[in-house]
Amino acid sequence: MGFYKEKYDAIVVGGALSGMACAMTLASKGKDVLLLERHNLPGGIATSFVRGGMEIEATLHEMMSIGPEDQPLKIRAFFDEMGVKIHWLRVPEAYHMSVPSEKIEITLHAGFETMAREIDAQYPGTHDKVLKLMELCQSVYSSVNVLSVHPMSKPAMLLRHPEFVKTCGYSAKEVLDTFGLPKEVCDILSAYWIYVAAPLSNLPFTVYAVLMADYFGGGSYVCRDFSYEMAARMAVRCEELGVQIEYLQEADKILVEDGHVRGVRTKRGDEIRADFVACSAYPNRCYTSMIEPASAVPAAAIRSVNARRLSVTCFSVAMLLDRSPDELGIRDYSYFNSFTDMDTDKHWENLKTLGPYHYVTTICLNRANPDCTPPGMTSLSITTLPLPDGYLQVTEDEYLRLKRSIARDMIEQMSVYFGVRLLDHIVEIEIETPVTVAHYTGAWNGGIYGYRHSMDDHIVARLQMSEQENYIPGLAFCGAHAISGNGMSPAITNGRKAAKTLLDEMAKEAAQA
């Protein structure tokens, strides 16, 4: 007897958050779904690991689109609707930013009025402009939320979403510059740039607005039991909804016959039928080595992946320290440190190298989740998000030395900042690199953010062109590389969208038949 049914309504390739959101959505509509995951755990990079009996967060800094319980934003609402119960913990502040060369040292909290006042206290006379900027962001954010679900005609769009329409051709820098704010304030309001990984000069204002309105409006959240809690609870809920999940099963080929998806072949050799596949592997890999026969891939599909540029990957040093945050003098949850100035174009160039990195994010998880370590200890991670470029020539014999030298530099920089020698307090340390991401997820070139946000690959253009990009009937994509882009919350949205694409196709084909 085999391990699989003859045929499924849909197969989801990849059990990260996006794939599980997709599988869950399909199953909730009564579809018979198989989910194949290459790793032995669900969640992809939403994960944790155990060292010396202690669990350590691997990746999550903060989830957007959660919002308070009584004012849920869309991801909390999705989990509520699906019956996935997550223990959300609110992150106490938005961020602390430090740019010594510009004398920036400030902590901001969520809430437009709150953050505008906090900025005004250090940069008097900026309150109204900052508030106006945030209101513009909020307006664009609301429009994006409506328009991504309900497409409408151009005149209707202009009438109902004028600010969205009018800002959409401009970069974040171009729009920010019109507010006449001091440079330092613009820089403070740029701290989150790394969470969408594009220099402000090339970041669509639309994306910037969503980021700012979501984080400063709804606040940010983490899971009580690390990001793996989300992964494990989604996996359990998927199975309750009837999804068959198989771990350690890698989909090797997506089978296409007569121009339509017809199934999947696993590395193990099982050939499983389904007319619909949601693929979490990057389109680069899918179109160049997964589709069988290769001739079923239209030239336009290859062009599309060649035209797009990969976004960043990850370099993170996760540590458990043998002192409490108070003892170490680490007051806040999240720190954005620039060791040079806040020119994001220069930072972007720096991310193409092997370091030393100039812009790093440091998370002290205890500040949002005091029980994440035993008492008297600190969970601290220092992260930068480099582009794959610097890592392409690295050989296996130099890899260990290299990752330690980059990590040491990051630890020493933050030691200077905190005024405490972190190296003297490390109980556990793991260094995650682009190669680590590739090893555990197989993501194309270790990418965690999909394709770059840029004025050339604008989120609005992605939405407008989305239908013509369904190059192979029966195939949809979920993951950070899909329309909504990177981050755990957008990845979940991408999974839901992939499900919707497939459900629409299923309905259309059923009607034709």
């Binding site: 007897m1 155990v50 009018k166 729009v175 006449g180 039991d225 609870r233 043998d322 392409l392 004025m455």
Partner: protein, 392 residues
């Protein structure tokens, strides 16, 4: 002031779409498959490798060192103290065993590279080791995966003055470390304190003496020979403080009971926890000795319903053995590596029933514990079970 003064422009959406479209049209239609980062990941973690035994050598009256070379290609980079997972078929049982690599990393990477493990004969719980000791000969072929484990010197965390506290076959990772340091490939100093009952129990004695140098010190501590001329007794605070310098990092590898003794001795010496690294070392010999084990269950037999995909099988199980062992006995393969509850490769789901997980072998994540995911290699049935495991 000109606050978003350009917002009379309503053509932005059209412009950005045209821009993207033209980019797509002008791009090459030639498939680009280069993914150097995944290539590097595969070079570092190549998965199962076909290995040939190239040498079998006695390294004590009861232990043998087995050398393996790859059938093709190169062995991956590893760090001293890491282990390989050896696939074994003994009778009808298909299983794996973790063995610390006792050769040095540089030896794996040189031309004609190799890895070595040492197996000891005659231990009642050493089913696989005894079999390997008795049966392995040059020319035999095996499949193994490497490298795994966190028992390695981490320069960002550890003191470069390493004290290796070894017992029994727990000496093997320190031989790897000693060779790497002696060859000038690892910048650290190592003092090995190796506890054995008699001098005949000492494994790799000649080999360790041969690599001793100004950076590698090697001391046997013998507990069961009155006339032993060197250090006598156990690995106590006295002998440890005699040889360990200030601010050393202690690496501990040996049989389970040794860990409790050493933890007590190091605590008495005020060694901070971050200076102590303990290797995981297999399932306990007798689970009923573990804290919290319901002793009345020990002799029980149960049935496990094993779900793999849409298939279900029923197998017998003993309360005294991990779920993974019951599966292997029944001929159902289960992915395992560390076999100590730590690595989680055997991550499975408990659909119903009750299991016991000894605290020493509980490497589960919090959410796993709450939701019923478990590690089959370190979990013991306390009732009939229904479990879902990966397809192999």
């Amino acid at each position: 002031m000109k606050v978003y003064g350009f917002l009379k422009d309503v053509g932005g959406a059209g412009r950005v779409t045209a821009r993207r479209q033209s980019l797509f049209q002008s791009a090459s239609a030639e498939p680009q498959t280069r993914d150097p980062i995944n290539e590097l990941a595969r070079a570092l973690h190549p998965g199962p490798l076909a290995l040939t035994v190239t040498d079998v050598r006695d390294v004590s009256p009861t232990a043998r060192k087995l050398r393996f070379a790859p059938k093709q290609g190169r062995l991956p980079v590893f760090q001293c103290g890491q282990y390989l997972s050896l696939e074994l078929k003994i009778g009808q049982t298909v299983t794996t065993r973790p063995y610390s690599i006792c050769s040095a990393p540089y030896q794996a990477r040189q031309e004609d590279g190799f890895v070595e493990i040492t197996v000891r004969n005659g231990k009642s719980d050493g089913f696989a080791a005894n079999w390997l000791y008795a049966n392995t000969k040059a020319g035999d072929e095996f499949t193994a995966s490497l490298p795994f484990g966190q028992f390695y010197y981490e320069p960002l965390r550890d003191s470069r003055h390493i004290v290796g506290l070894a017992g029994g076959s727990g000496i093997t990772p320190f031989y790897s470390m000693a060779q790497e340091i002696a060859a000038g490939k690892l910048d650290a100093e190592l003092t090995i304190l190796y506890g054995s009952v008699t001098s005949a129990d000492v494994i790799l004695k000649n080999e360790l003496e041969a690599v001793a140098c100004d950076k590698v010190h090697y001391v046997n501590v013998i507990s069961g020979e009155k006339d032993y001329p060197g250090e006598k007794g156990f690995l106590t605070r006295e002998v440890i403080s005699k040889y360990a310098g200030p601010d050393s990092t202690f690496f501990v590898c040996g049989p389970l009971p040794m860990y409790k003794l050493i933890a007590r001795e190091l605590a008495a010496l005020n060694v901070p926890p971050r200076r102590i690294r303990m290797e995981v070392f297999g399932a306990p010999k007798d689970v009923s000795a573990a804290e919290g084990y319901p002793k009345d269950k020990l002799g029980e037999h149960y049935t496990i319903t094993v779900v793999r995909g849409i298939r279900e099988d029923e197998i017998p199980a003993r309360a005294s053995e991990p779920v993974a062992v019951a599966l292997e006995r029944a001929g159902i393969p289960i992915p395992t590596r560390c076999r100590s509850g730590a690595c989680g490769y055997c991550h499975s789901r408990l659909l119903s029933g009750e299991i016991f997980v000894p605290a020493d072998g509980d490497g589960r994540r919090r959410a796993d514990r709450e939701l019923g995911f478990f590690h089959a290699c370190s979990s013991y049935p306390l009732s009939d079970l229904r479990i879902k495991i990966p397809i192999l």
